[in-house]
Assembly symmetry: C2
Homo-oligomer: 350 residues x 2
């Protein structure tokens, strides 16, 4: 047998605060770590040159597809994507649509990446919205958390969609046959939270998912109560960043202290805690679009860029998209009450 | 000189999952730690008896004021407080109102404690809402975070009130003359976040506080960008619990690992990290009501109950309420644009 077919990832060269340097460095790291990876850099060719020539282990495994425009972080994403057809996110999304790339990674504007991929790839059947999902390495195993920033305004029908796609994702990605779905709110008692959450709780209870009721903020890092935790993108983003900041702060203090207690102690502590490191979360997967799309923090380091690329490659290798499509279709077929797309504000399914 | 006048704290005997036992144990701990403390237990006298007689160091320093009803966690707080005038929270609030207690602590329903104190003590001049505030021990010094659960639904005028009272509190409690106020949202750029945040950003910019613009979830644990971080009670509660859960998880893993590396290493790590422990946050102060009111988690341990009582005593000793009143009045006098109480939904000041 020959080598496996390489996974081809389209990478937005102009995304993120450190672009293009941090992107180029991250791509080099990712290529070195994964011999069966090919990267298509999407951006101005003159910016796609690394200062030193590629070493032989990664030479020839990246190509450039020109794109001259960028949708900036401070720009309206919808407008940007509509008017800049030659922007990096639009070109990358078309590469995925046309089968020239297996997945796309952007570290820049989440809104732009979302708009470009929704327009060019479309949404999975039955959905009217995409959501950003991360898998949080909790104390009691992985917790799928969504949305973490795709849509800021909370709406009950969107939370219901998140529950469906999140459950399908937990099945497709983590192999959990009947994932427990929790609704993130304040107070565990039924009826706690705001109006949107009370409405959403009723909708979720009618969906063909194993709804376990309300969960609270600490159930995300602690785990154990739900495999999938559903929230709006505003709350999810702030929670995720708060958890990341807390981890970084505490891990930094512990590492500093450990430096005075010998290498073996330091290593032991790292071994016990590194699996929870937020950098392992890296990027978020844009769930619901008809393609594999990973969106990173705007401030991502080369290491984090490499992790986003590795995450995209792993999702492609594991066949997450076809599995997700199947799992979602199975759930949709079971859905006899409260069809998501017919809920107020839901719009028509695509 | 004689002994200082003892601080008198009214404690809700029936608040919290472990009541009355956990409350009684917490009171004993608090009394032992603070010789100038007197506790008034508010609840059914037959439940206010500890199994063993008080040791001499705390004997005679707690009394019981009868209250026969309780507003439960699963009860509508407004209705509960209106109909149960002999409930623990109502009786405790009246003790504060009548000067028979200097402060009140409840570990039970936040909504009930808030309703009882707003009704009985009233709000500070210029405010139409109370907010729950915590001081988070961030990497770069204390960060005042509010609201963490008083009101779930976000509204721009409420966020503006939080900014005013939060800034006054940072001055009164932490001695910061011109506290920097940040608005918690997703994305640092102007215009990021949801509609409420965009509206709130405009309101905050017009207030006589040092508004530093948008901050993100990780700015709470990291600190350094703002002394006061303003958000709605839904987001703030979930962020706080997410940070607490992350801390507990990581600290637990580190402690477990350290057990194998000797006592000195374990102690050193504790010394480096304990000041960030969420149990140090203990309860939240109900800010804006005309009295010192501390509200704890429903699941508080005796240690956490004791910490809430100590927090209330410390606020009384430091004269936080009169200082807060002065600081808020000074800010209100400076407020020439966009008076908070006349904002949409703001209502009339009390």
């Amino acid at each position: 047998m020959g080598r496996p077919v390489p996974i081809r990832i389209a990478v937005d060269l102009l995304g993120g605060d450190g672009a293009p340097e941090s992107v180029l460095s991250g791509v080099a790291v990712a290529l070195r770590r994964d011999a069966d990876l090919h990267v298509t850099l999407v951006g101005p060719p003159q910016l796609a040159q690394r200062p030193e020539p590629d070493t032989h282990d990664i030479a020839g495994r990246s190509t450039v597809v020109p794109a001259t425009q960028v949708v900036g972080m401070d720009e309206d994403p919808l407008r940007g994507v509509r008017t800049k057809l030659d922007s990096t996110v639009c070109v990358a999304a078309r590469l995925v649509r046309d089968g020239a790339a297996d997945a796309m990674v952007s570290i820049g504007s989440t809104g732009a990446a979302m708009a470009a991929t929704v327009f060019n790839l479309g949404l999975l059947a039955g959905l009217t919205r995409a959501a950003l999902v991360v898998t949080v390495p909790s104390a009691a195993g992985p917790v799928v958390l969504l949305d973490v920033g795709a849509t800021a305004a909370p709406a009950a029908d969107r939370l219901a969609q998140h529950a469906m796609i999140g459950a399908a994702y937990a099945t497709a990605r983590l192999g959990i046959p009947e994932p427990r779905v929790g609704l993130l709110t304040i107070g565990e008692e039924v009826g706690k939270g705001d109006r949107v959450r009370r409405h959403a709780a009723a909708l979720l209870a009618a969906l063909p998912v194993a709804f376990v009721g309300n969960v609270e903020g600490d159930d995300v890092p602690r785990g154990g109560r739900a495999d999938v935790i559903v929230t709006d993108g505003f709350t999810g983003n702030i929670l995720l960043k708060g958890m990341e900041g807390t981890y970084a702060l505490l891990a930094g203090l512990v590492a500093q202290e450990m430096a005075q207690h010998g290498e073996s102690a330091r290593r032991a502590v790292s071994a016990a805690t590194d699996h929870l490191h937020p950098e392992r979360i890296a990027g978020a997967l844009l769930l619901g679009v008809n393609g594999v799309v990973v969106v990173g923090h705007g401030a991502s380091s080369p290491r984090a860029v490499a992790a986003c690329i590795a995450q995209a490659a792993s999702a492609v290798r594991d066949g997450v998209l076809p599995r997700l499509r199947d799992a979602l279709a199975a759930l949709m077929a079971d859905r006899v009450v409260a069809p998501v797309a017919s809920l107020p504000g839901g719009g028509a399914p695509r």
